[in-house]
């Protein structure tokens, strides 16, 4: 059908399909608008090459709802209006923006209905920088603004992973490198390979989908501690899937730590920037995710050593404490015990003397009381005799008490002298001093002898303490132990009628059985 009278809205998509209208007859010597346009069109087609590469600055850039792009290319003097169809626009990786210097490839044609010429762009490239590189920079800036590279969002890798997921191509060097490295360093893991295409159309979608699937269904596959996403080296185009926004977002959303390992050391991708850790190569990724087994084993052994040494030194400290305790005054200087008894004896002697004096005074008082009566009766001679007798008794009593006290004191002194001889407190410092003086006098070559002397000193100490212990037994003390377990009986706890005991005395031991167990009311 004929076109409507009013011009339809500008829609370049319709242009190729639109049939040329038959020119209405024109009066002689005139041409129609369509004829002029057709002539211009032919002239342009003859004059211009089929393909032009035009350098200029982008302006008035618009993306139509249909997907077609409209913009103007300009330089200092001129402007060129441009169209880029949706299908061509979709192949473009970077986002064109006003002000961008570009190289546009296409051809100039006349847009007949509007009567103007337009540049139909098939390919748009940024100037001075590759399209992919620009696309990379643009996406990097965008995601950076959104915080996708924020270090605060990055998760630490587990120190000892048990299950590792690989999202990569199932063939090629990369996957083999990853598996070999992991296996060589830390064989006690399970590797879960999610095979994906890593280049070409659809690769980015597959990678993103795999990351999301592992992340969402981690429980159903027995858990995953860490994921490696990557591939081996290649051209920028080959690696491109790892520069796609969809992959970046999948990595960012994952709750499992992700190591990105794409290409070689020099290749940095958007995936590398979003991932929790970037590995320079697939091999490096393997090294990052697992420790070296031998080192871990050594660490465990070191801990075992620490436990053993810790306990041993702990026991030594306690042994030293015990030794210090047993050398404290009560154990080391039994004289104190004797001194206490000594004091008690003194007190008893004083009391005995007082009692004796009192008795004698009492007798004298009674005598004084009866004296007047006796005087009256006058058995003077008898009374005098009794008084003398009483006095001599008094003297004898005093002498006896004094003698008893003196004898006790002498025995005590003798006992103390004996104790002093055997007490290690007195003899040990003397011995130690001697050994030390000897050691000082010895040359370095003879230190060995000093050590022997020290050992002898230790032995002597042991013997002395044994003597001291035996001397306590010899004084009539004994040590009673439960026959079962040989624990020393200090209290009645654990003892009952019938319990079998072993009692150690100075020259041996004997067994006995408890009868008539009685608890002393010691406290209130």
């Amino acid at each position: 059908m004929d076109a409507p009278v009013t011009r339809p809205p500008f829609n370049p998509e319709l242009i190729p399909e639109r049939p040329a209208r038959a020119a209405p007859p024109a009066p002689n010597g005139t041409v129609t608008v369509s004829q002029v346009t057709a002539m211009v069109r032919r002239a342009l087609a003859d004059a211009l090459p089929a393909t032009l590469h035009v350098v200029g600055e982008l302006s008035n850039f618009k993306r139509h709802g249909s997907g077609h792009l409209y913009f103007t290319l300009k330089d200092d003097a001129s402007e060129l209006s441009c169209v880029m169809w949706r299908s061509d626009a979709a192949r473009m990786k970077f986002a064109p923006t006003d002000g961008l210097e570009v190289v546009a490839t296409g051809k100039v044609e006349v847009f007949e209905r509007a009567g103007r010429y337009q540049f139909y762009v098939r390919k748009l490239e940024p100037r001075g920088v590759g399209a992919l590189e620009l696309a990379f920079r643009q996406l990097r800036e965008k995601l950076e603004r959104e915080g996708l590279f924020d270090p605060a969002h990055k998760m630490p890798l587990p120190a000892f992973p048990r299950r590792i997921a690989l999202v990569t191509s199932p063939t090629g060097a990369a996957v083999a490198d990853m598996i070999n490295t992991i296996e060589r360093r830390f064989p006690c893991v399970t590797i879960l390979l999610y095979p994906v295409r890593v280049q070409g159309p659809g690769a980015a979608d597959e990678i993103a989908r795999a990351i999301r699937a592992v992340n969402a269904k981690v429980e159903s596959i027995g858990g995953v501690d860490v994921m490696i996403v990557g591939r081996g080296g290649g051209s920028l185009e080959d690696l491109w899937a790892f520069n796609e926004e969809i992959v970046a977002r999948a990595i960012y959303a994952a709750r499992i730590p992700i190591v990105s390992a794409v290409g070689h050391e020099v290749d940095v991708t958007i995936s590398d920037l979003v991932a929790d850790v970037r590995a320079a190569t697939p091999t490096a990724a393997g090294e990052l995710v697992v420790p070296v087994l031998d080192e871990v084993v050594a660490g465990v052994n070191a801990l075992a050593d620490r436990l053993s040494r810790g306990l041993a030194s702990r026991l030594n400290i306690d042994r030293t404490k015990l030794a210090a305790l047993s050398s404290r005054s009560a154990f080391r200087d039994p004289r104190a015990v004797v001194y206490r008894r000594d004091q008690l004896l003194d007190e008893l002697a004083v009391r005995l003397y007082r009692r004796a004096v009192e008795r004698s005074a009492h007798g004298r008082r009674r005598l004084d009381a009866v004296a007047p009566a006796v005087d009256r009766i006058a058995p003077h001679r008898f009374l005098l005799q009794r008084a003398t007798q009483l006095q001599s008794l008094d003297h004898r009593l005093q002498a006896l008490v004094t003698r008893l006290a003196n004898a006790a004191e002498r025995r005590l002194a003798a006992a103390m002298e004996r104790l002093e001889r055997v007490s290690p407190a007195r003899t040990l410092p003397l011995l130690a001093d001697r050994v030390e003086r000897a050691a000082r006098g010895l040359g370095a070559a003879q230190k060995h002898k000093a050590r022997l002397a020290t050992a002898r000193l230790a032995a002597a100490e042991g013997r002395l303490q044994a003597v001291s212990h035996r001397s306590v037994l010899a004084r009539g003390f004994s040590v009673t132990r439960l026959k079962k377990g040989r624990t020393v009986v200090r209290w009645l706890a654990g003892v009952e009628d019938g319990t079998r005991l072993v009692t150690q005395v100075a020259d041996g031991e004997f067994e006995s059985q408890v009868v008539n167990l009685t608890q002393l009311e010691l406290f209130d």
Partner: protein, 84 residues
């Protein structure tokens, strides 16, 4: 007493703490011995975990219903020289 099934990492942390307590002497002798025994049990567990050397490689596949399944697979061969 710690729970029976600790992760390797947790076991190491616990061991570290036990060793420190014993070394510091902050616990009694009796307790030191208990902690030592507990530590030695964990050491044995750690060694056992590390000795599970049978490395497994599985292949993940998405089923029609969207769930994942893990199937045993052979180790992939490298058909090109290793990258770097």
């Amino acid at each position: 007493m710690a729970k029976k099934k600790l992760s390797f990492e947790e076991a190491l942390e616990t061991l570290e703490a036990l060793a420190e307590q014993i070394e510091e002497g902050s616990v009694g002798l009796e307790e030191s011995i208990t902690k030592y025994e507990e530590g030695m049990k964990l050491i044995a567990q750690c060694r056992q975990m590390l000795s599970q050397a049978e490395q497994k490689i599985q292949k993940l596949q998405e089923r029609a219903d969207g769930t994942l399944e893990a199937k045993p697979m052979k180790r992939p061969k490298s058909d090109e020289p290793a990258a770097r």
